[in-house]
Symmetry: C2
Subunit: 333 residues, 2 copies
């Protein structure tokens, strides 16, 4: 089992998970690194190899077939796991730590080994989003869970270790300091303005126009004013929903279409970039707040963060979001 340690200089948590190193012994990673895809035979995420993963906790059938289309199971090399003690302890030398309890799941997005999210149909993407929503709902009910991060690493530069398209869910028994601070900023904005910061941000972008990538009747896609990295893209719902679990069944196909269009634009602009996709949500228990609004962040990994970013926490972005949004608007499927 992993261990969660507090950095005494920042009060932020670090997950110590040496067991996860074992996943790197997987021959698949070597093949991905060499630019070859892993073979279907060796891939634990391909149909027929279900015995290579822990038992599934959720699966959705594909239309007109008997096999699964989306499959969710606990990560074989988890960063955090459900069994353990939920109390923090002070070690004899004054450091604070706790057992690495939580949930770490894998959401396989398609039975087809090389079918990236960007090439799936709207209906297939919708199924992935439903899996996100359902697992989020279930795990948020676990007594000690305080924060749930759903994310996707596409490509080696984005930190993936397996080529078969998948997302991950990590639920922790601590609220990450970063998320708590963002939430406090949102509350403070609400106190000062009586409105949700995130809804206001999307509204301001729609008014300003220059950073808009696309707009539908339900979603706004834009490159934020203070984008951390080139082509950082946000997808924000127009309905004020604090948490993704509030997303209605009616919204899901619309979101799938918007996500696909956005990924296609990035694919064409940046030639199939490595990217991270993050589903930003408030801390667990704050699902009905007026302060926050869930959104999707897509971060192409086309530049490296360097010593200045690590030392200061300040990003140096070499592209203006006004320029990149203009490029994105100009690209059509």
């Amino acid at each position: 089992m992993s261990e969660i340690r507090q950095d005494p200089t920042t009060k932020e948590w670090v997950i110590m998970a040496p067991e996860r190193r074992k996943r790197l012994d997987d021959t698949n990673l070597q093949l991905i690194r060499e630019g070859k895809s892993s073979t279907v035979n060796a891939c634990p995420f391909c149909p027929g190899n279900e015995n290579l993963t822990p038992p599934e906790v959720l699966s959705f059938k594909g239309s007109g077939t008997n096999s699964w289309q989306v499959r969710v199971f606990p990560n074989k090399f988890p960063a955090v796991s459900p069994e353990g003690n939920n109390s923090k302890r002070i070690e004899h030398n004054g450091f604070l730590s706790m057992e690495g309890i939580g949930c770490h799941e894998v959401i396989v997005e398609s039975p087809i080994h090389n079918k990236s999210l960007v090439f799936m149909t709207d209906a297939e993407i919708a199924m992935v989003l439903r899996a996100y929503r359902q697992r989020y709902r279930t795990i948020a009910q676990m007594p000690y869970i305080k924060s749930i991060i759903i994310f996707k690493n596409h490509g080696v530069k984005a930190g993936t270790s397996l080529g078969h398209p998948h997302s991950q869910l990590v639920a922790t028994a601590v609220v990450p300091g970063h998320i708590r601070r963002q939430y406090e900023v949102a509350i403070s904005y609400y106190d000062d303005n009586g409105r949700c910061l995130y809804s206001d941000l999307a509204a301001r972008e729609l008014e300003t126009k220059t950073r808009i990538v696309l707009e539908t009747d339900r979603f706004t896609v834009f490159h934020p004013f203070a984008s951390h990295r080139p082509f950082e893209t946000w997808i924000m719902p127009k309905t004020n929903h604090s948490s993704f679990i509030q997303t209605s069944e009616e919204d899901i196909p619309h979101l799938a279409q918007v996500l696909k269009t956005t990924l296609l634009k990035l694919h064409h602009c940046l030639d199939n970039p490595d990217y991270n996709l993050i589903l930003d949500n408030p801390p667990v228990g704050q699902e009905n707040s007026d302060f926050y609004q869930w959104h999707i962040r897509i971060i192409p990994r086309i530049t490296e963060s360097a010593g200045f970013e690590i030392g200061s926490g300040i990003f140096i972005n070499t592209s203006l979001p006004e320029e990149t949004a203009l490029i994105m608007r100009g690209v059509h499927d």
Copy 2:
């Protein structure tokens, strides 16, 4: 001139510096990426090519030669620059920004194109450290400078764009939120305990022993309890000096020797890893505080941060510092 924008969701600053993209057109980067070093003829940091850089602001002569050993000049593609307006402004749509004022300098560490810090003599490294100290002292006097980050990016994964060994100094007119928070944590610790957090951390490591890499009469080198990444290494002075500018002339050769030994150990353990080196200091103006202690952080870039780290701010470290410190202790020059 660049622009500094505030991220309204975190209050952190982002430097928008599209001009810095031009440095990527440099053929040197292409050669580095292809695994070839740039030729001496084309390298703007090699002796004889001084006209390819802005005029120097400091240089130290090598012993027994007339040419420079260390040379400092403003970055040709600066993230921030000295001329401009030091006031923040609110744009019509409510976003906060300011002109990108500050200083961005390059410290070329050696006249020899391929001589990495790890292969320099103690005396040569000492000269680099003196250049750090002298430029820090000078720039800290500029009226609007609030924070100075000195750092080094070694290798492409660490974000370098030029192979010739060099460090950089970036001074900003804002205190990065990350540094302000760390400083507040240190003050709070001092309030509670009456002692410096950083001195206490080094003392606790010396008592615990398992995370110590090496110890001399003046410096402690260790892998911190909550290391963010594998083989993250801290060098901490035993004298309580809040800022690096207080480092005495007597300490410099000792630090050079400790830094060289540490880099050699990393070089042998990880086969010449890409790494970032950061000189952590308090905000400018806090040079005489009892709360903080300058230190050097070396972060090998052997793992990628992924969606979970970006989403949560929590690192997943796949190596225990107790294990990596043991490996480092076992390696000798």
